[in-house]
């Protein structure tokens, strides 16, 4: 996007961190990590550390914002002040407001909102450590947390970014690639339906590069979906004594 210039993004067919063009960073998923939340998920994507919590369905406040036909999904993407190089002032900024909107719209299509008219389903994503790709990590975490909370869903949503660095279309940009690369395109999709629920792009891409990137991202979402699913299965096969289900306490 910005000044490419000196950085040698590609060397011997590998990227700055040694990955192949179509290789994801390491992913770690933990389900049900929080006690107070109705559902939760800790998600690592490379050096990104993200926590998602879900509350609800519960009563929607303020009342005039209720929807008589279906639940309203609230989504709040928030960066911890220490999650970035220069301390982030607490509170929403323009970037986080936009990401919250895009993330909410990425998840809306799978949530059976019509089951809970007038209710609120609240999704909170905290970025504890940031290294490019936090919005996709947040959507992945939130999707798992929604399932963990037992919110009725059509399916999971999976998310990843593709981009262009050193003239190549590559998967899942890290911070250097994101800051100095030529384009960044995060997408979210319902992997099992090949349905895209979020799409943004900034930087510069030809139409062909765009199409190539889109296919690359869609394929990677399938991989992420399998990891999300495995984490959820692992969670429910394990002895649940560690997390009492009586949320009233």
């Amino acid at each position: 996007m910005k000044k490419e210039g000196e950085i040698e993004f590609i060397k011997d067919g590998k990227r700055v961190d040694g990955r192949r063009f179509d290789e994801l960073r390491n992913i770690k998923i933990e389900v049900g990590v929080l006690k107070r939340a109705d559902g939760s998920c800790y998600f690592e994507l490379g050096d990104n550390k993200v926590l998602a919590a879900v509350y609800g369905p519960r009563e929607m406040h303020p009342r005039h914002a209720q929807d008589a036909k279906m639940a309203v999904v609230k989504f709040r993407y928030n960066m911890a002040p220490f999650s970035v190089d220069d301390r982030k002032r607490p509170g929403p900024d323009r970037r986080s407001v936009e990401i919250s909107k895009v993330s909410r719209e990425a998840l809306d299509p799978v949530i059976l909102r019509e089951y809970y008219p007038k209710a609120a389903i609240e999704v909170y994503v905290e970025i504890l450590q940031s290294d490019a790709g936090t919005r996709t990590a947040g959507i992945n975490a939130a999707s798992v947390a929604l399932a963990d909370a037992g919110v009725p869903m059509r399916d999971l949503v999976s998310s990843v970014a593709v981009g262009k660095v050193g003239g190549e279309i590559v998967l899942d940009l890290n911070a250097v690639e994101d800051n100095y690369g030529e384009a960044d395109m995060p997408i979210a999709m319902i992997a099992r339906r090949n349905t895209i629920t979020a799409l943004q792009m900034d930087g510069n891409l030809t139409k062909d590069e765009f199409e190539k990137g889109l296919k690359l991202a869609m394929k990677a979402c399938q991989q992420i979906y399998e990891l999300q699913r495995a984490a959820l299965i692992g969670r429910y096969n394990k002895d649940e004594s560690a997390k009492s289900k009586d949320r009233g306490t």
Binding site: M185, M189, T206, K207, L214
Partner: protein
């Protein structure tokens, strides 16, 4: 409650017309409303443009002020794009700080400008690390009858194209024209029951299952994309919209934005 019913009625109306091959204002599916673009209409602004897209009207003003660069880019000026959805422009807009709609509008327009490298921010540096030009691009919506993004983005480029840098006001030598290096055009399309229509009205936006903005440049490349709305889209639809967006952008550019030589 009465209002919600009217909402449904209007959505059904739009859908029924489309299913019969028609739009509420009689346009073709891939046809823009009449576009009018006036430049240089606010003499207090260093650059300005007023865009009408049918009954949608957006005024964009550019102001230049001398300020400090960001510490991590000491040799670059600063571009700040801001949008105000003032309550004058729609019964649905309210007074108050920017909300997610106005923020998204500003950020999508901003992204197209940056992605296309419209402005060379290094040219806006006056004294490295000390003094740079802050370029404020203010999108002021006057009448919202749908598709604010395309109107705002067109106004933004047109306003940038007529900026004179007020060097003399700040004791620098000689006012000069700001160089504009590309002409990204935003084209917004909606999908309604599988049909793609460009330049949606408010009613069409409300009836839409999906909306996609495609920002493309003079060379046909993309400098931005933004999907909005709470429904999923198929890959084919997106690819079709991207092609259509590039095509319509070319038509608008040809007609309204002289390509920089």
């Amino acid at each position: 409650m009465g209002l919600e019913i009217m909402d449904d009625v209007r959505k059904d109306f739009v859908r029924n017309m489309l299913s019969e091959g028609d739009r509420e204002d009689g346009r073709g599916f891939r046809e823009y409303r009449e576009i009018s673009l006036k430049r240089d209409i606010i003499n207090k602004a260093e650059g300005s443009a007023c865009v009408k897209l049918g009954d949608t009207e957006v005024l964009v003003g550019a102001k230049l002020e001398v300020g400090s660069p960001f510490p991590d880019s000491p040799t670059e000026g600063v571009l700040i794009t801001n949008a105000e959805l003032v309550p004058l422009a729609s019964p649905e807009f309210e007074s108050g700080p920017p909300n997610e709609k106005s923020i998204q509008l500003a950020r999508v327009v901003d992204r197209g400008i940056r992605g296309a490298g419209v402005i060379d921010l290094e040219k806006l540096c006056i004294e490295e690390g000390e003094k740079v030009w802050i370029l404020f691009l203010d999108i002021h919506v006057l009448d919202n009858n749908g598709n604010l993004i395309d109107a705002a983005a067109l106004g933004a480029i047109a306003a940038l194209q007529n900026i004179r840098v007020p060097n003399e006001r700040y004791g620098l030598t000689g006012d000069e024209t700001l160089q504009v290096h590309d002409t990204p055009v935003d084209v917004t399309m909606v999908e309604i029951d599988g049909t793609i229509v460009v330049d949606p009205t408010c009613n069409e936006e409300n009836a839409a299952t999906n909306r996609l903005t495609v920002i493309s440049n003079a060379d046909g490349s993309l400098s931005g994309l933004q999907k909005t709305g709470s429904n999923g889209m198929k890959e084919e639809t997106i690819v079709e919209m991207v092609e259509l967006g590039i095509e319509k952008a070319g038509e608008i550019r040809e007609k309204f934005l002289k390509v920089p030589s």
